[in-house]
């Protein structure tokens, strides 16, 4: 009781008692989460408005500034908002709490806790809409961001500060890839902070994710910004911007953060809904004209900062859901052109049991090569090309025609590689595990092992290396190119393991 009265007293003291005149307007009409307001001539784009209702103050932000009226999107329920109510200009743009206090918490798009925990009291707030860092404040991407997924780290490496799109149909493992990446940050102690944004995702899915992250011990270095399909479109729209503000705090304080936007297709749909209700002219697929800018300004905030600015980074893994594998639809092509590469997940591969179902031919990482760990780079040379060629050749092989020796060996190697790159969920691999596994295939040490036994052989190899050559593997894990001695160790061990799995 004493605590409560103290809270109440301090809240009264905090109340605004400014003696300046406020700019006010009046609600003309309201509906579908959009309010049209008369007055407020000084309102700026994206400025916060406060609507006085009998049930309290409902916030909104101005999006359409017309000569005679303003179109504003409500940040709460519109049930208490009625025509004739007074609207006040808050005089500031939308901000959200930012800082380490948010780690381990699940918040909504406005930074309010939704995990049933204590109120979040941060020292600072960050602007939801913020201009991206300029050219001179940036540095080229050069540090690796290990996902722990061998197929990605070897063929499509991601660097800190990069934007790598994850694209594919529904149920192809897009979210699973990002969860593994988050887990890997904790397992490898990379110090990267994860910020996961659920845009219009089912609450049950978010609950499962939180539970899994807790089990894996990753939640403590993760912030989850969750919006559900039951939330107003305005919250879905601001969620990725608000989460980016939270990630930027770490970037600007010489830290490293990883943003996961799950997914931008739903974000574009929420923006389309708002735009149509605001009577903006519809364009292709009924999206408004500025839907490209919607995502480009968001993803441009991901950056690797220069040393003068502390050298922090913000990496982005946006997710896009395609329909029947069509990557040439409006939103997918937009985001493909904005990002620095894409990882395309194929439904066919997924149902063939090749998981992660990464398409070697359609995936690419445009800037990550410079950031790839030397150790992985030294063994993954033409892995991507080899795998793409194998998948082409494999289609011929199924006709059972006679093949020449070199084609046959390429197919055999491809089959083993495909088996090796299959990776169970929640089991990211460290650098040395990836190097040893890939080397065993590409150097031909496992050529005598049947494709069906490759995973068992890999497990045996990794167990033997970690028990018998712990020091060497710890050295290899640092990321430098493996010394001849280490290469020899891997060769000997792999050949010994292969003997046990001979056809």
């Amino acid at each position: 009781m004493t605590e409560l009265s103290k809270e109440l007293r301090s809240a009264i003291e905090r109340l605004e008692t400014g003696k300046e005149l406020d700019e006010v307007g009046v609600i003309l009409r309201v509906g579908d989460g959009v309010a049209w307001i008369h007055g407020l001539r000084k309102a700026g784009y994206s400025e916060v408005l406060q609507i006085e209702t009998p049930e309290g103050i409902v916030e909104a932000f101005a999006l359409n500034l017309l000569e005679d009226e303003i179109g504003a999107v409500l940040l709460g329920s519109d049930s208490a908002v009625k025509a004739g109510q007074t609207v006040r200009l808050k005089g500031e743009v939308l901000t959200v709490p930012v800082g380490p206090e948010l780690l381990g918490r699940v918040v909504d798009a406005l930074g309010r806790p939704i995990d049933g925990g204590a109120p979040i009291k941060t020292k600072t707030r960050g602007a939801v809409e913020r201009e991206a860092i300029g050219v001179m404040g940036r540095k080229s991407v050069h540090e690796p961001l290990m996902t722990g997924i061998a197929a990605i780290d070897a063929m499509f490496p991601i660097g800190r500060g990069q934007r790598e799109l994850i694209i594919g149909d529904r149920q192809t493992g897009k979210t699973a890839l990002t969860i593994d990446t988050m887990i890997n940050q904790a397992k490898q102690n990379t110090g990267v902070i994860n910020v996961y944004v659920a845009i219009g995702q089912k609450r049950s899915k978010v609950a499962r994710l939180v539970e899994r992250l807790k089990q894996e011990g990753v939640l403590e270095q993760t912030i989850i910004v969750a919006t559900s399909p039951a939330d107003p479109a305005s919250l879905l729209y601001i969620a990725p911007y608000a989460a980016t503000a939270m990630g930027e705090y770490f970037r600007d304080n010489s830290g490293h953060a990883l943003m996961i936007y799950d997914d931008l297709t739903k974000h574009a749909v929420a923006y389309r809904q708002m735009s149509l209700l605001l009577r903006r002219p519809p364009g292709r697929e009924a999206y408004p004209g500025d839907v490209f800018y919607l995502h480009s300004r968001l993803l441009e905030r991901s950056a690797k900062l220069s040393d003068e600015l502390g050298g922090g980074s913000l990496t982005a893994l946006p997710i896009i859901e395609t329909q029947a594998g069509d990557i040439s639809a409006y939103i997918p092509t937009n985001v493909i052109s904005i990002t620095d590469g894409q990882i395309f997940l194929e439904t066919d591969l997924f149902y063939q049991g090749i998981r992660p179902a990464i398409s070697a031919g359609l995936s690419v990482s445009r800037v990550g090569g410079a950031a790839q760990t030397s150790a992985v780079k030294s063994v993954s040379g033409n892995l991507k090309l080899g795998l793409s060629q194998f998948r082409e050749l494999a289609s011929f092989a199924q006709f059972g025609s006679d093949l020449d020796a070199s084609t046959k060996s390429q197919i055999d190697r491809g089959q083993r590689l495909t088996e090796l790159l299959k990776q169970p969920q929640y089991q990211p691999l460290s650098v040395w595990e990836q190097v040893a596994s890939i080397m065993a295939i590409t150097a031909g040490y496992f050529d005598t092992v049947a494709p069906a036994k490759i995973k068992d052989a890999q497990a045996a190899l990794l167990t033997r290396l970690s028990t018998d050559h712990k020091k060497d593997m710890a050295e290899l894990d640092k990321g430098a190119k493996p010394s001849e001695e280490i290469q020899k160790t891997i060769e000997t061990t792999a050949l010994a393991v292969a003997k046990g799995f001979k056809d």
């Binding site: 300046e20 005149l21 307007g25």
Partner: protein, 133 residues
């Protein structure tokens, strides 16, 4: 077809006429004719608000002070001084409205501007703050 004038342009025209000393009745007749011709009569209230705002920006302010009890002449004169300071108005007409619902304090309403220092509003703000927390 001629482009429809914005409400603000109509208000600007009417405001300029008022400030130039044209009789109010004459301006209102013109305005009424325009609204009827353009089938804009439902916007009459908004145009009046726009005219008030336009005229207020040029120093002629019509203000309403709402309080739970009738204010003394002395308080009203203080409020007049406050409005003059904050709006640079030269001509202020002040009207005191008594409304028990505000519980205490005052609310000064000017065209497009407001200072709400009533207890009722403070309580609403408090309610919202606690709801958020």
């Amino acid at each position: 077809m001629a482009r429809r004038l914005s409400r603000r342009s109509v208000a600007r025209y009417a405001g300029d006429q008022l400030l130039a000393g044209v009789a109010v009745g004459e301006i209102m007749t013109l305005l009424a004719a325009y609204l009827v011709t353009e089938k804009q009569t439902k916007h009459a209230g908004l145009i009046i608000r726009d005219i008030e705002e336009y005229v207020a920006e040029r120093g002629h302010v019509g203000a309403t002070v709402t309080s739970a009890f009738a204010l003394s002449e002395e308080t009203l004169s203080e409020l007049r001084k406050y409005i003059a300071e904050h709006t640079q108005a030269t001509d202020i007409s002040l009207h005191n409205e008594v409304d028990e619902k505000v519980l205490g304090g005052v609310k000064i309403s000017l065209p497009g501007k407001e200072l709400d220092q009533t207890i009722a509003t403070q309580l609403t703000a408090l309610k919202t703050r606690f709801k958020k927390a």
